[in-house]
């Protein structure tokens, strides 16, 4: 019974992990059709920001929930102004440029922070579930993931800003004839996506040793999560996170974690083949 509880929590955690790390990429892809392959590095930068703040004595929650998103959001803004905005509509070129950006950021971070792993301590201690020792911090992550998903959904659905953004994404010409500059919308959206990535990175920083190459672990999973999810930002991310989270953890528990990862990747191929527009291209068509 306890074991079932453990498995269940691990699955929820995996879903939360995928959703949280993909959220930033989903916003940018779902709204602008931009694939930011430097997304993993934005997450990594969030982690390093948190680390630097922690070392400077700033409260860790403040660092990971406030400072990290702001800093990485700013970096995202700079990137958008210098690189991304020249490449709108050129999807493959954007992917290539952001791939270059990701290499660049890895190099820059390595030069600044060195290439050995650094650690941020977990602020929440573990607890016991029956006879198993569980990481309490994981619950916090699950909570943050849920809050982020709900927050983004609320903003897109119910605020004026969200409506303008969705309108500009649907039809840039109409949006500009209503007085909203689509370019500004794109800029803000990309910045928001970067900020979300920074938030994810900040929150995930205490989990493992932080390396300049940590981003690589996030990008592949985030990439397949949102592309499989399809165009709808929240519905897509959630549905694919759930599917991948469940499959990957169930297979992991049944065999080894590596097989679990491979199963998730193989499933991505199958899903993409069956639903070339992603899950929300087929189901939940008009959701956010």
């Amino acid at each position: 019974m306890d074991y079932a509880g453990v498995v269940f929590l691990e699955i929820i955690y995996m879903i939360a992990f995928l959703a949280l790390t993909s959220a930033g990429l989903a916003v940018v892809f779902g709204m602008m059709r931009v694939i930011n392959l430097a997304h993993g590095e934005f997450v990594m930068l969030g982690g390093y920001t948190t680390l630097t703040c922690y070392k400077a004595g700033i409260n860790i929650y403040f660092a990971m929930l406030i400072v990290a998103p702001i800093v990485v959001g700013l970096i995202g803004l700079i990137v958008e102004r210098l690189i991304i905005r020249f490449l709108y509509g050129r999807m493959i070129d954007t992917m290539l440029a952001t791939w270059g950006l990701s290499l660049f950021l890895i190099g820059a971070v390595t030069m600044i922070f060195g290439s050995s792993a650094v650690n941020v301590p977990t602020p929440i201690s573990g607890y016991e579930l029956g006879s198993y020792q569980m990481g309490g911090y994981n619950l916090f992550i699950i909570f943050v993931a849920f809050a982020v998903m709900a927050g983004v959904w609320l903003v897109l659905r119910y605020t004026r800003v969200g409506l303008i953004a969705r309108g500009a994404m649907q039809n840039a010409a109409v949006a500009s004839s209503l007085g909203y500059n689509p370019k500004t919308v794109y800029m803000i959206t990309f910045t928001a996506g970067a900020a979300l990535a920074g938030l994810a990175g900040g929150v995930l920083a205490p989990l493992t040793g932080l390396l300049p190459t940590s981003g690589g672990a996030y990008i592949a999973k985030a990439f397949i999560t949102i592309v499989t999810g399809g165009a709808a930002v929240i519905a897509g991310t959630l549905s694919s996170s759930v599917i991948f989270g469940v499959v990957s953890q169930v297979v992991s528990f049944a065999s080894t974690p590596v097989i679990g990862e491979i199963a998730m990747l193989a499933l991505a191929i199958v899903l993409l083949r069956l639903m070339p527009q992603g899950i929300t291209g087929r189901f939940f068509r008009n959701s956010t």
């Binding site: 490449l87 509509g89 493959i92 270059g100 290499l103 660049f104 190099g107 840039a172 397949i224 590596v258």
Partner: protein, 350 residues
């Protein structure tokens, strides 16, 4: 009459012979070991550039076939002991895998972005799989796969039929050089036929070509197979050069390297990827020897700059400049920019 089709015309024999001569005489002036790996990378880039530039197929995980070629060679060389069949297998097996993956993607009408994901995921799967095969139980025949440590100590290339006469060293360089030249000629030959023009048509407007009776998915799958075969061959040579095969042959790094080389060299030409790979490969090796500037930083910056400033690559930009300079400005501005820009406006839903 033919304008954009100038890019797929026949071989410029003058340049080709000059290039071949340079390749053949190079070992006299330069360290053969380094030169060999540059040629191997050039072949790898040619395989991607052929597929990307003329059929519009961009694989984000081309390392999958490079790595397969390397591992297939190593595994079969250990088991067979002689290098001829392993080399053939290193070409055939990647081609077979490409046939399956390619057919799945092209007959499924997978579009560019999703194809990028799929190809990426395929290479990731191979990487993770190979990484996890440490331990004695993971072996194919006599060959232990070795996990993240890789497979050392397999027999390298020998004269076909004479296992005791090794081709190690300078002879391997010449094998690579001749292979590169032959593959280049093969690509040119394919492009010069009607098939090449059909390829360009499909790249421009696949639906229209289907409405003209051409079987687009079959054509694309065929090109994908040829590209994978060449990548596999280059992987096999790489295994011979490095004398060890590790899962890094499947890495994202390898896939991104070849994309950068091809892009910088010039998508839409055959010589562009070759020269791009050799030049940037050289830069990579040189950078690796110093610790002042980080490798990643430089290549990342190069890729960004090229995408923004010369999206068609250096060679086409040069061709354009050369063309303008010689006042051949009557030619349409389409000129050497044979690569298609994939335009999907942000407002367009799929």
């Amino acid at each position: 009459m033919i304008t954009a089709w100038r890019s797929i015309g026949g071989v410029r024999w003058g340049w080709f012979i000059a290039f071949a001569l340079v390749l053949l005489l190079w070992p006299l002036a330069y360290d053969t070991h380094t030169a060999t790996v540059l040629l191997i990378w050039a072949l790898f880039a040619l395989s991607l550039g052929f597929m990307w530039g003329y059929a519009g197929i961009l694989s984000f995980g081309h390392s999958a076939y490079f790595g397969l070629g390397a591992y297939v060679y190593a595994i079969s060389a250990v088991n067979i002991g002689e290098s001829t069949i392993p080399l053939i297998l290193a070409i055939l097996i990647p081609a077979l895998v490409a046939a399956v993956i390619g057919a799945m993607m092209f007959y499924g009408r997978i579009s560019d972005v999703y194809m990028g994901v799929m190809t990426l995921v395929v290479s990731l799967i191979m990487f993770k799989f190979m990484n996890a095969t440490a331990g004695d139980q993971y072996a194919i025949g006599d060959a232990r796969l070795g996990g993240f440590n890789g497979m050392p100590g397999f027999p390298t290339l020998n004269v076909p039929g004479a296992p005791h006469i090794s081709l190690w060293g300078v002879p391997t360089y010449y094998v690579c050089a001749v292979s590169l030249l032959l593959c280049y000629l093969l690509c040119r030959w394919i492009l010069a036929r009607s098939f090449g023009r059909v390829l360009l048509g499909i790249r421009e407007n696949e639906t229209r070509c289907e409405l003209l009776g051409y079987n687009a998915p079959a054509v694309k799958t065929a090109i994908f197979i040829i590209s994978a075969a060449m990548a596999g061959l280059s992987g096999c040579y790489f295994a011979n050069w490095a004398e060890i095969v590790t899962p890094s042959v499947f890495s994202l790094q390898t896939s991104s390297d070849v994309i950068i080389w091809t892009m910088v060299g010039g998508v839409g030409t055959l010589i562009g990827p070759i020269l791009g790979a050799m030049a940037l490969g050289m830069v990579k090796l040189l950078l690796g020897q110093q610790t002042l500037i980080n490798n990643f930083l430089v290549f990342g910056a190069i890729l960004i700059v090229v995408v923004l400033a010369m999206p068609s690559g250096v060679i086409p930009a040069f061709q354009k400049w050369w063309g303008n300079r010689s006042r051949r400005s009557r030619a349409p501005s389409n000129g050497g920019r044979a690569r298609r820009r994939l335009t999907v406006k942000p407002a367009e839903r799929p």
